[in-house]
Symmetry: C2
Subunit: 224 residues, 2 copies
Amino acid sequence: MKPDDILIDYFSKLVYFENFDHNVLRELVSHAQRFVFASNEIIFLEGEPAKGLWLIEQGRVKIYKLNPEGREHVLRIFGDKDTFNDIPAFDNGVNPVNAMSLSDSTLWMLPCAIFQDLILRDAHFAMRVIRILSQRVRGLITQIEELTLYSVIVRVARFVLKQANDPVLIGEGVTRAVIASYLATTPQTISTALRELEQAGAIVFDRHRIMIIREDILRSIAML
Amino acid sequence: MKPDDILIDYFSKLVYFENFDHNVLRELVSHAQRFVFASNEIIFLEGEPAKGLWLIEQGRVKIYKLNPEGREHVLRIFGDKDTFNDIPAFDNGVNPVNAMSLSDSTLWMLPCAIFQDLILRDAHFAMRVIRILSQRVRGLITQIEELTLYSVIVRVARFVLKQANDPVLIGEGVTRAVIASYLATTPQTISTALRELEQAGAIVFDRHRIMIIREDILRSIAML
DNA sequence: GTATCGACTTCGCCTAGATGAAGTTGATAA
DNA sequence: TTATCAACTTCATCTAGGCGAAGTCGATAC
C-alpha cells in the first residue's frame, strides 16, 4: 500500500468515518497533518482557536481543565485510534479544554473547515455526528452523576471495572496522579481506596497492575 | 389567530425551530400533545423509553439524577420556552435523567420519531442540531469543571451571577434545597455561603430575594 | 386573630477526604 | 554495582462541608 492508502485505511476505522466513501476519505486525508509529541507536551490550550480535529495514531493524551491555582481535573484519557476536540469543528468555537500527551505520541490533525461542509453535503454523516454527540452528552451526564453522587471508593471501584474493558486506561502515562485527577481526588486517597478494595477481597494490586479477583464484590462496592 | 396558529407561533420561537418553514411547523405541531402537571409531579424517569421532546409552555422543571440511597443531583432547571430531553429523540435511547415539575406547569410533548426524519431531510436543521449539541457539551464540561475545581462559596457566587441573567433560576419551585442539589451541596451550606457573601459586601438577601450590591466583589469571589 | 406547615437559618458536632512529610520501590543510567 | 529519580504508599494531621437538632419566619387556612 502507498502511504496515503495506509492513512485512508486508518481513517476508515475511526468512528466518524466508518464505511465512508474512499474518494471522500482520500480528499479528507489530503488535508491531514502529522504531529509527533514527546511525553507531557502541551498539544493545545483551552480558549485558543482550534486547529482542527485530532486523531491518535499511537500514544496517550489527557483532556483536562485547570483552575486559577493550577489544580487540574482530567475529563478524559484517550489512546490509539481515538479522536478528540471535535466540538470546535462543529461550532467554530475555541478549544473547550486543554490537551497534553501522556506518552510519546503520534497524532494527526484534520482542519475544522472540512467538517461543516461535509455535514451540509451528507445527511447520513450529519446523523452520525448527531448520534456521536448524543452519546457524548450521555457520557458527560454519567460523569457528573458519579462525581456528585458517589464516594471516592465507589468511583475507584468503577474505574477499575472500566479499566478491564478499556486498555487505554492502563499503561504508560496513566499514573496514579492522572487517575486521581480524573476521579477528582488525590493519589494518596486512590492508594487507600485500592487497599480497601483489596482487603474486601475484590482485587489484588501492585504499583503496575490491578487485578480483579472477585468481580461480584467489586461491582457491589461500585454500586452496580 | 386559530389555536393551531398560536401554537405554531410559539414553536417558531424555540431554539430548534427559529425561522422554520411554517408548513413544516404545522405538520410538527399536529403531532404535539399537551400535558398539565401539578407541582412536584414526576414527568418521566431515567431508563424509561422516551416519549418525546418536551417543551415548557409555562412552569419550572428540574432534570435530575438519583443514587441508590435516594440522594439527588439536579443537572438543570428549565422554565418557560425551554425544551428538554432532546437526546433520546436523536439516538433512540432511553431517558438519560429524571424530570419533575417544580411548579404547576403546562408542557408540550413532540414524539421522537419526527426528528430523525427531519434531520435526514433538512441539512440546515441537522447543522442546527449539531450546534445545539455542541453547546450542550461545552455547558456540561463547564459544570464538571465547577463541581470539581471550585469550592462551595465560589459555586454559590457563580450561581448568584447566573440568576441575574436567567429568571428561570429565580422564583416558584427554585428552593434552597433545589439550588443545593444543583450545586452538589446542602441547604445549610448554601445559607452559610450566602451569609459570607453578604459579609463580604457582595450581596444582600432574605429568604425570597438575593440582590447583588457589588458585582465586582461577587465576581472576584466567583474567581471570574 | 391564631394554628399549621414548609422553607429557611443557625449552631454544634462529626467525618470523608485533603494535605504534608517520610518512607519504599523499581526503573534507568552511570 | 550503585546512584538517581519518579511514582507510589503510609501515616498523622487538618479542614471543608455534611448532618442533625432547634429555632425563626412568613404564607395560607381556619
